[in-house]
Each structure stands twice: as C-alpha cells, then as structure tokens.
C-alpha cells in the first residue's frame, strides 16, 4: 500500500509549479500505515506558501480517488525544507519548462551568488531583475543576450 501510495503521489502536480510533482519537490517526507489510516508527512516549502493547504487537499483527494478511505496529513516542520531535496527529475522538468533549477545551498547560507544560465539560449550573461518573484520560491531574471525574462528557483 505504501509503495503504491508513493506512485500515486508521484503524479500530483505542485499547484504553483505544475510542471513538477510534489514528490519531485521533495515535499512528501514519509508515507506510513497507522491503525488503518494512511499517514502522509508533508513539509511546507515556505512558511507562508499559500500552496501548502492546496497540496494537503490534493494529496487527500488523490488518495481517496485510489480507494484509500482514511488519510491523515502530518505537517512536518523539521528538518526545514530545502531546494536540495528537489530530485534530478524535478530539476530536469523545471528546466524543460523554462524555469532555472536552484543552485546548491552552501554552508554560508542561501545567499551565495551562482552562475545562472538562460533556459532558452544557455547564455550565462543574465541579470537579476527582482530577488522576489511570482511565488515565494522564485526570483525573476533576464537574459542579457536573448532578452528573455525567466524564473529562477532560489536556493533555500
């Protein structure tokens, strides 16, 4: 049951980054059976991310649709979510959809500047337009060669 549940949740898209699934993002931390209920531990990305409640509802709905009657969502804060948990497949999917996947978070914190490559033309001549973008997890960039604006998932 648990193994199948992982496969089912593997198809639940993130509400704000629909090109990736919630498992791609590393939000699903654990699935276990407990006294006849299926318990899913989810870790929110940002404290105020409005998608958190939607994701919880989506997970519950997806499991109900696959015949799981009793679902319990556990919100797990620690350890805090990090962009390092985004899977290789998730990074690939982000890239395919024109969103630059995050650089690695380093010991110095999330603020180290890394080379950001344009997802359209691969130029490394890019500039930050705004450190805060359309969702809490993204910054807005522009390619100085092809002029394409694009999103960058901030290392977190």
């Amino acid at each position: 049951m648990v193994a199948r549940a992982w496969e089912w949740l593997d198809e639940v898209p993130d509400p704000e980054l629909p090109s990736v699934t919630i498992t791609d993002l590393g939000i699903v931390r654990e699935i276990r059976e407990d006294a006849g209920a299926l318990v899913v531990a989810l870790t929110p990305t940002y404290s105020g991310c409005p998608a958190t409640a939607v994701i919880e509802a989506d997970v519950t709905r997806a499991l109900h649709e696959h015949g799981v009657e009793r679902v319990r969502i556990e919100r797990r804060l620690a350890p805090a979510w990090t962009t390092d948990w985004i899977t290789p497949r998730g990074r690939e999917r982000l890239h395919e959809h024109g969103i630059v996947p995050p650089g690695a978070t380093l010991a110095d914190g999330p603020l180290v500047t890394v080379l950001i490559r344009c997802p359209r033309c691969a130029s490394t001549k890019t500039s930050e337009i705004s450190r805060f973008g359309s969702t809490p997890c993204k910054a807005l960039y522009r390619c100085d060669d092809c002029r394409e604006p694009f999103d960058y998932v901030k290392p977190h």
Binding site: S47, C49, A78, R131, F132, L140
Partner: protein
C-alpha cells in the same frame, strides 16, 4: 509554567504578524513593481511565521483559539509585539529602515532560538531563519542605496534612522518572561543580542553614509501590551472584516 511560554510565543507571533501587515499595506503602492512583489513576498513569509507561532500559542493556551482567533479577536492591549514593528509605514525610507532594524534582530534571535530546548520552537525558528536571510539582504541593500543615494533619499533615510532609533532598545530589554524562558533553555536572553546587532547595524549605517543616533531614552512596553497609538489603527483595519462577520469564509 505554561503561561510564560504562551506569553513568549505571543511576542514572537505578534511581532511577525504586525510587521507582515505593515509590509502588506504597501502592495499596489510601492515605488516600483518589483518592490510591490518583494514587499508582498516578505509579508507572506512573515504571515506564515506568525501563523506557526500563534498556532502553537493557541495549543498551549488550550482555550480553543487558533491562529486566526488570536490574530483577529484580540485588542491592541492584548498584543505582545515589539513597538518597532508597529511604527507606521511612513515613506519608503521609513519602511526600509524599520525593516532593516527588525531583520537584523530577527536573524540573531531566530539563530539562537533554533537551539531552543522546545523542539517545536527550534523547528519554527530554523525554518523562519532561512526566509529571514533573504529579507535581511534586501533591506540592507536598500538601506545602503537610500543612504548613499540622492540628497533626498539620504535625508529621508537619516530621518527614519533618527526617529525609529528610540524603538530599538526594546529589542534587547528582557523581563521576567524572558528570564523564565532562558532558565528553561527555551528562550533567548535579549541583551545577549545587543552587541552583535549593534556591530552589524553600525557597519551597515556607515556603508550607507548614515549617522548612528546617540544613546537616549528607549521606548518600551510593547511586549507587555503597552503600545503606541499606531497599533490600534492598524488592527482596526486588519480586523474589521472577521469582527463584523464572525466566522465568514471565502
């Protein structure tokens, strides 16, 4: 005693909540669109942090109040936020300087709280700390840009520093609640954050070509529920809907 932990959590939650509401009030009024987005993002993080603190506070209180009930159905005298966060938005320099003083403090406070003996407090602090790093970098960047900018931006930034300075002392003044939390390994001794905060702020002000005000009387009382009049007006606007239509849902 749980009453002390409840008070301590209300202080953390209310400070995040009031600053969030202040930042949110800029949306659609910021000088440029990127700032609209940035202030909304910062507000969102702070609302999220406030919710985590207040949810925990409500559970400890055990009176059936959730984060919404605590946010929308308490009067100013029941709020436990720092005086600094409730100061009006003023002009953009006022908002940036207030934000910078708060972010620099929050970064130190949350770093220390991440080692709290209360695992839930430690978890919320560790999570919030990652968000605060981005807030601090932005507010510090702007502090320098405004201070070391045009004559007008410099003058406004200096005036903001001068006017807000008297509210910074409270960040480092402990009381019996703080002492009890420190004794239990749960909380942070406020005065221990003073020297690192000052070192950081003095360096930033210098880079921004701004002058640190001399030491004078420091306002206090927010943590005990004695607020400046600015808070009541803000809460009136923030709370009017749920108070007029209790239980209203989207």
């Amino acid at each position: 005693m749980m009453g002390e932990r409840l008070e301590y959590l209300l202080r953390l939650g209310d400070s995040a909540l009031v600053l969030a509401q202040r930042c949110a009030a800029w949306v659609a009024h910021a000088p440029i669109m990127e700032e609209d987005v940035a202030l909304a993002n910062v507000a969102l993080d702070l609302f999220g942090q406030a919710k985590l603190w207040l949810e925990y506070a409500g559970e400890i209180e055990g009176a059936g109040r959730d984060a919404d009930a605590l946010a929308f159905h308490r009067d100013a005298s029941d709020y436990r936020n720092l005086l600094l966060v409730e100061q009006p938005n003023g002009n953009f320099a006022d908002t940036i300087v207030r934000g910078y003083f708060c972010d620099a403090w929050a970064q130190l406070n949350l770093s220390a709280l991440a080692a709290s003996s209360d695992e839930r407090i430690a978890a919320i602090a560790a999570k919030s700390l990652k968000e605060t790093a981005y807030h601090l970098r932005r507010s510090q960047d702007w502090l320098v840009r405004l201070g070391d900018g045009t004559d007008v931006s410099h003058e406004r930034a200096q005036r903001a520093v001068d006017e807000l300075w008297c509210y910074t002392g409270e960040l480092f003044i402990g009381d019996e609640i703080d002492a009890a939390m420190v004794a239990q390994g749960v909380g942070v001794e406020p005065n221990s954050l003073r020297a690192p905060w000052l070192a950081r702020v003095e360096a930033a002000l210098e880079t921004a070509t701004l002058v640190k005000p001399g030491d004078g009387w420091m306002q206090r009382g927010g943590k005990q529920g004695r607020h400046t009049e600015a808070l009541s007006y803000m809460l009136a606007e923030m709370q009017v809907l749920p108070r007029s239509y209790p239980g209203a849902q989207w």
